[in-house]
Symmetry: none
Subunit: 194 residues, 4 copies
């Protein structure tokens, strides 16, 4: 039902804010639902556990990021341009939705145990985004605009550099506005993988 989906999104929104700000383990279910005038008991009508909320949240973020990247990937432009547009888009997204990006970097990457089933802790939950990134890299390599190297190196360059600036931003040490960095960042990223 639509109504149910709406409520789920509302909960996820609150969770992203709280988890990204205070961390998963320092946020109680009560904290999550207080923001949206929901009772603790009712939360469990929408998610079976706090853990599953964390998982649903990362899927939510991954889908959003994947969409942005897909839109860029689908364009018939140079890889250089794609990198630029992606960085631009990413920085804007980070500015407007810091909780999503911070959730991705802080909770998803920092608390891996939450996202594992048994011993299996892959990236399934973020695969929408990762697959799109993979596509961008492979397209660039095919068109000889990127060097043909191990995927994981290129992945580290793109995600790592963006992760770095994201972290510095969340630490509030950046002196300028985020978008001021888009030129330098996209140039750095492009140089690193071409």
């Amino acid at each position: 039902m639509l109504r149910k989906k709406k409520k789920e999104s509302l909960i996820i929104s609150s969770a992203l804010k709280m988890f990204s700000k205070y961390g998963f383990y320092n946020t109680t279910i009560s904290d999550v639902v207080k923001n949206i005038n929901m009772s603790v008991g009712n939360f469990y009508n929408y998610f079976p556990s706090k853990n599953s909320l964390a998982k649903s949240s990362i899927i939510f973020v991954s889908k959003r990021l994947a969409n942005k990247l897909k839109y860029i990937n689908d364009q018939n432009i140079s890889s250089r341009k794609k990198i630029f547009l992606f960085v631009e888009s990413y920085l804007l997204f980070l500015k407007n939705n810091p909780e999503m990006i911070n959730y991705f970097f802080k909770v998803y990457l920092g608390n891996r145990e939450l996202f594992c089933d048994n011993e299996n802790c892959g990236f399934e939950l973020a695969e929408d985004f990762i697959n799109e990134l993979k596509r961008m890299i492979n397209d660039g390599i095919e068109k000889k605009e990127f060097i043909n190297q191990d995927f994981f190196i290129s992945f580290s360059c793109i995600a790592g550099i963006l992760g770095g600036i994201t972290f510095l931003n969340s630490e509030k040490v950046l002196s300028q506005d985020l978008e001021q960095y888009k030129q330098a960042l996209s140039t750095s990223i492009f140089k690193s993988i071409s």
Copy 2:
């Protein structure tokens, strides 16, 4: 007293292993001390709290990393070479002491709340390492081997790319041995900031 320092190091070693593997919040003091045949009560003779153990641990790691970097910085070689040596040294360190690096990336960066006093969550605890990184970057810029850009961009490039590969390594998705990546990684890093 020397004896006291020895015990502290022992505790930190155990903490780094446990925290990096299971996460700070999933590791109890009892877990930390069980490894080293110490009682829970006695732990508190060495550290006033679990939190302070986390802080001491990151200082310990930061110092170790800073030393490696300082040794390289002190040499009279090109920045290109420095980057290479640093990457090489870093990968070796990661291979031999994964718990330290993983602690840095997972716990220190992923659970910032642990390392804040009041609202102040700077990098004081890792400043030994960060200062040395700053020195390498500034030296390179001065010698015109790196482009003269915002420090934080260059920082993101170096730390971000290494962070990326570190994460992939801890996720066990890398197909080759870590040191196989040193050439490509140092090249990517160098290109990104020059």
Copy 3:
């Protein structure tokens, strides 16, 4: 209204099954109504509380048992024969309606607190059955077929022995079919009170 009574019986049937199988405290209202395609909210149109459902259920069982016993009591036969017929009838009932008997022994006798009002926890709820049992005993004593002893002793002999075999049956330790025990059981019961 008849319709209302039908629904109540339906609920009680489901409750007897669930309560006897999983216990009162391990069965939720949701469990009870799921079986019969009824909503949780609607349940409260028929019973004011979970507790009252437990009470109504035992009354239901007691009436059923009382009817069987009354039919036997009303016959003009020896007490020896009555005991036999009762045991036979009881074992058949147990075989066909284990949930009723198990509810009686497990929930009604094992969770007395549910059936008390204030401090008053009598047998009112099972009085239909108990009165009929009392009648059988007193008739037997009058006819000098049973020894004239404290009612509670005779009661313990009849109900206790049947309770014993019921328990063993529900634990699935009996090697033979229930009705195979009717001869021995009725003999034992008869001997014990005559």
Copy 4:
């Protein structure tokens, strides 16, 4: 350690009182420990769960009952006398330790789910007592003082009749003191199985 065993017994004693009086599910760990000036947290230094406390409690009771019965079984007397001594001993025990017997009948027999592992809900936990009962019955049969019938019938006669009087006693419907019933009860039991 002895100290530890002492505390465990203390907890079990309190649990037997509370569980037998209010039922397992209506007694909180807090209730159990309040009686003995222990904190909730400390309880978990002695038992891993509330459930395991229930199991340990029944083992405790079973051992106590088995001892009494063993003492009687070991004597070189007639089965008739054994039955009498056992009933006498049982009634005395019930009078002095009603919480133990009531726990056995109310919680152990009434809440079987607590004592099961997986699908396996045998009598292991009470086997000390049951084995001794089995011995008494078999000895009697061997000496031709009891009829040679299915063990479960004889078991139901002994345990059932005692269970009946126990139940009536805990319901406070008996008009006389417990020991007044020993003659009639032991006679009834003896007659039922001989």
